[in-house]
Symmetry: C2
Subunit: 397 residues, 2 copies
């Protein structure tokens, strides 16, 4: 684990006044000293925010210099004024950094349907620019500036050696659930000093996101603002990564994305358990993901786990309605390592012991085995507690 900025990156996180509480940070800035190869993956929601539109138009790219992130206002469902505000944020950063406005990306999270308070955001960008630093404190501040209902900043990193050259990857993320007053989001920025092609960056980020950010959910509600951005500035030197070197980089990128992705349900609103659902023996990975996601999104599964209840019936029946054909008489299920269901039938097990193992550990492992093929998937989610409902229902009262 290396939680430090890669070479050639500086970061800052400040309070601009978008959030009500001045104890919190709400605006982050990341600047690379040289142009970055950049790629992005974004929400599949048809209703998407102005900054998502802007980033989609500007990635992939070979010339990105900066990313500005704000929390507290999602700039979603804000019409053409929202587009103008996102563009103005990029332009403001470009003026300070000294680059084209097209080389700045914008990410937003927070309230939807309200215009961005530009009179606060614009001075906030100036303040952030004045505090840019390569220090670990600056990295943590940038991670904090993205947070909404997150209880802690989410940072993951690795330093690896490729052909004797140290290469650093570092990502920051936010996301705890969709929350009030409207909805929140998953955002992540992964920085690296590796030198990679635009095409490799684009494909690599897409593949890494498929194995990480696309394998988590808190309650299955896809936000309007979800964005993951990769910036590679090449400051580590050396040739453009290809072949085995690129593969090693890619494996590390997946690890960093998995670390960040898992930290989101682990910090799920009101969550008392982090649930890992593994599904094996499927015909295709898509089918395995579909089953894993259906189990992970079932409120009945999530409430059972919140109650430390080894309720195999809810898990097996959730698999059964995932829309994927399988032979139900071949299904086996393990919970926290105990076999609860074998070849389509419940098996005797010590329910109290399994329940105690769930109560004793924040992590709960669900492993479902089918007999249809060799494809697998892992999916991460949080449990569903009364506290989650309170957080999401009662903010007005």
């Amino acid at each position: 684990m290396s939680e430090r900025l890669p070479q050639g990156f500086r970061a800052a996180g400040v309070y601009s006044g978008v959030k009500r509480n001045p104890q919190k940070l709400d605006l982050s800035l990341i600047v690379s000293e040289r142009p970055c190869t950049a790629a992005g993956v974004f929400t599949r929601n048809l209703v998407f925010a102005a900054p998502v539109k802007l980033c989609r138009e500007r990635t992939p790219s070979q010339t990105v210099r900066a990313v500005v992130v704000n929390s507290g206002n999602a700039n979603a469902c804000t019409g053409t004024q929202g587009d103008r505000d996102a563009a103005a944020m990029a332009e403001k950063v470009a003026g300070i950094v000294g680059c084209s406005h097209a080389d700045v990306l914008v990410l937003s999270t927070g309230v939807i349907g309200e215009l961005m308070p530009m009179q606060k955001v614009m001075p906030g960008i100036e303040l952030a620019a004045s505090r840019l630093s390569a220090s670990e404190d600056a990295l943590v501040a940038a991670a904090r500036g993205m947070m909404t209902t997150d209880t802690r900043p989410k940072i993951a990193g690795r330093t690896i050696s490729i052909d004797g050259q140290p290469i650093t990857l570092c990502g920051i993320a936010k996301g705890a659930a969709m929350i009030g007053p409207n909805l929140a989001t998953m955002l992540a920025v992964v920085m690296t000093d590796a030198r990679i092609d635009m095409g490799d960056a684009h494909e690599g980020l897409r593949d890494a996101a498929d194995e990480s950010f696309n394998c988590i959910s808190v309650e299955g509600h896809t936000s309007t603002n979800d964005s993951v951005v990769l910036l590679a500035n090449g400051a580590a030197g050396g040739p453009v990564l290809k072949g085995a070197a690129l593969a090693k980089f890619q494996a590390t990128l997946v690890e960093v994305c998995e670390d960040l992705a898992q930290s989101i349900p682990a910090d799920g609103e009101g969550a008392t358990h982090m649930i890992t659902v593994e599904v094996h023996g499927c015909r295709t990975r898509d089918e395995a993901i579909q089953i894993a996601k259906t189990i992970a999104d079932s409120p009945l599964v999530k409430t059972a786990i919140a109650g430390n209840d080894p309720n195999w019936g809810r898990i097996v029946s959730a698999a059964g309605y995932a829309g994927v054909p399988f032979d139900a008489s071949k299904v086996c299920l393990h919970l926290n390592g105990s076999l609860l269901y074998e070849r389509g039938q419940p098996v005797p097990f010590d329910s109290d012991a399994v329940s105690r193992s769930m109560a004793a550990d924040r992590n709960v492992g669900v492993v479902l085995l089918l007999d249809e093929g060799a494809a697998s998937a892992r999916f991460w989610t949080s449990d569903l507690t009364a506290e989650y409902v309170r957080l999401n229902a009662d903010y007005q009262t």
Copy 2:
């Protein structure tokens, strides 16, 4: 509203001992004096219970005489012994009624993964047979005998006149959510003294279920036991219904099914609101249902409504991830009659007034308008409260 058994039907509901609490009923019997045209629609879950397997094999039919229903044990995931137990229940009823065992249907709901306590069920069937009656009390008892976590029996009926002939339809149903210790179910039996063809019964029930039982959810978890059965014994006399007479019957069948279906989320576990989601302006009804169901199943929408929060962002964004393409810039949304979102943009509205209207009425209406076509759908669900989580998480503690 006519809550009485159609001609030629008798019913009973008794306590057999499957449930722990002897104050509750847990076994119901419905017998027709003459053979019925019968049809059924069943869970699409790949993991389905023994009685579902039995009923699938025996419907549609022209010779059904009886339905036995038990609550407290779902006879699901019970292997070949489960199949033998379901068959034995049918055989026991057949012996009493004096018909072939193949003319008896079996419905079960309750705990899954435990063998049916046949030493309790078999005497229970005898007891129920000794109490068969055409009275309203017997009808209510039969409805109670199906209940699991339902707080009230669910009965709906109509008497209509077709060519001067009174025709009665009466249905009983159960369902409040999937619940512990494992999961529950939606069951419904609709009886009529109309005379209809087997093919018309089959198609008519399928269509009616599509407009009613397939348009509700409490938490989106499809049970292993869901079953809806139609019995038509022809005791009202007259010719087999065809043409306009059949259409009138069918419209009434839909009404009865809608009444029963709506009563399920209205009695949702811990629910404080009954939510009706209407989606208009879609290309196809399937797409309209897909969007309505996605909104209805969103925990964020359901918690917002529990909190009397007119949170249009959660509703519009749920539509956006339903997997149905639409032009987001044309979307309009009404909540309890107030316009909150128009042509892709939020509109100013009195948030406190809308919130008060939600707090004042158990029923909440969500109307989403697209501009893609002329198809519509209605979907019913309940809100998501901390009480629901408590019911589903804490039964063990």
